[in-house]
């Protein structure tokens, strides 16, 4: 299996909000990429934004500025 490392994972209630996050991060050159929601966070399907733990403050500030509310922000092995 691929070796997992600790990542920051930001989940959203809808695909629309997840895509809004990607759009926001791309336009502001913020770090991260879209991945499937890890099973350890939520069973089911959906997309989430995955970045490094150190990116938390930057991304939180961006979301706040854009009025984008995540479902959850956590760290897990990805």
């Amino acid at each position: 299996m691929r070796r997992k490392t600790l990542h920051l994972v930001i989940t959203f209630n809808t695909t629309t909000e997840a895509m809004a996050m990607e759009d926001l991060c791309k336009s502001r050159h913020a770090p991260g990429r879209m991945i499937p929601v890890p099973q350890s966070i939520s069973a089911g399907c959906g997309l989430c934004w995955c970045a490094q733990p150190d990116d938390r403050e930057t991304l939180q500030a961006l979301m706040q500025e854009a009025g984008l509310e995540p479902e959850n922000i956590t760290e897990c092995m990805v």
Partner: protein, 381 residues
């Protein structure tokens, strides 16, 4: 062929529209169903068009734009998801069956209904809306423009009434989106329903609705959303709450190209061209002996539509002659607007509707005038 049935669907689209659909069909996966490139590209495309439409309709937040197959679906979602037995709704005689039939269906389930009448020119008395309000009234559903006469309602004026009485305003913008500036905020619309294939010049099978923040609509459909899969109900969050099943991503890509074309061209330029052709046609046919033109042409607020009849001649027969002898495509009959025909006194005869688009020309318009003149002369002999 001279195509003058643009109020039914625009035939001539910006070339970018078909190119976007073809490209999407070759490249896009199912939006929100995976995190691989093609699926993400599907989700990105849909999000970008959502954001574009939010800008186009002055909605602000892309999450307030819901995709549907057409205005009819949007209106069914809005009316059936807002009204319940015991409520009362107000609508107008100008409406299309996409508003009337859902309301008649709801009426059978115990929803009260008042229809504001129109005069022989298709005009309403705005005080009638206020007079129709009862303690049970929940909403007013009104078209932005009659698909038969082209006359527009002053939606902001109705919105002022709904605001003052704490009611909701559901607007059918089928005939105006892409034809005139449509700003949901300025219109005070709580829900604004649009289709993609008419004035917006996108593909058939595309459409949607703007839903104002705070307006809760019960979903008409439930099913897969790609999120919150173990929830037994539709997710509570917009827009997925009202979007069950795979969206028409290919069509939406085309709709995005169409809306981008209109925004780049300028809605004012599109409107000016269409209004000019409509006025040119009206001036050309209004004085022809035997021709009756319907609607209010003194009104500033109009869509590029002219409906007429030639004496008592069957509108279907006139439309057939226009196509077979002059190559001009128009729509006869009732136009799914039964109450408007009753107001105009054309229930039996129907009417011949000419509707113009950005791609029509003055030459085509003049050819249509000549054809009407010839047919009217023929009737005299």
């Amino acid at each position: 062929m001279i195509y003058l049935d643009n109020a039914a669907t625009t035939l001539h689209k910006p070339p970018e529209v078909a190119a976007a659909v073809v490209s999407a069909m070759s490249e896009l996966g199912n939006a929100g169903r995976g995190a691989y490139g093609a699926s993400l590209d599907g989700a990105r495309t849909i999000y970008k068009v959502r954001a574009l439409l939010a800008e186009f309709f002055g909605a602000g937040d892309p999450r307030r734009i819901v995709f549907t197959c057409n205005s009819t679906e949007s209106l069914n979602i809005a009316l059936k998801g807002l009204l319940k037995p015991g409520d009362h709704a107000i609508t107008t005689q100008l409406e299309h069956n996409s508003v009337l039939r859902p309301l008649y269906e709801l009426q059978k389930q115990g929803v009260g209904l008042t229809i504001v009448q129109a005069d022989r020119l298709g005009r309403v008395d705005y005080a009638d809306f206020e007079r129709a309000i009862t303690p049970q009234t929940r909403l007013i559903a009104a078209t932005h423009a009659s698909n038969l006469t082209g006359n527009m309602l002053d939606i902001a004026r109705i919105g002022e009434i709904t605001h003052r009485h704490g009611l909701l305003l559901v607007v059918d913008a089928s005939q105006t989106a892409g034809e005139v500036p449509v700003d949901a905020g300025q219109l005070l619309a709580d829900v604004l329903c649009f289709t993609g294939h008419k004035g917006l010049m996108g593909p058939q099978g595309t459409g949607g609705m703007y839903v104002r923040p705070g307006v809760e609509i019960r979903p008409l459909l439930s099913g897969g959303t790609g999120v919150q899969s173990y929830l037994k109900t539709q997710p509570p969050q917009m827009p997925e709450r009202l979007e069950a099943g795979t969206l028409n991503g290919h069509g939406i890509a085309g709709l995005g190209a169409a809306v981008r074309f209109i925004m780049d061209t300028g809605i004012g330029k599109v409107q000016a061209k269409e209004q000019s052709l409509m006025r040119r046609f009206y001036e050309g046919v209004r004085g022809i002996p035997g021709v009756t033109v319907y609607g209010d042409f003194e009104a500033k607020l109009r869509c590029p539509i002219v409906a007429l009849n030639i004496r008592g001649r069957d509108s279907g027969e006139v439309s057939d002659a226009l196509f077979t002898e002059y190559g001009i495509a128009v729509r006869p009959g009732a136009h799914c607007a039964p109450l408007m025909h009753e107001a105009l006194g054309t229930k039996e005869q129907g009417a011949v509707r000419f509707s113009f688009s950005y791609y029509n020309t003055e030459e085509e318009t003049d050819a249509a005038i000549r054809a009407v003149r010839a047919l009217a002369r023929e009737e005299e002999t």
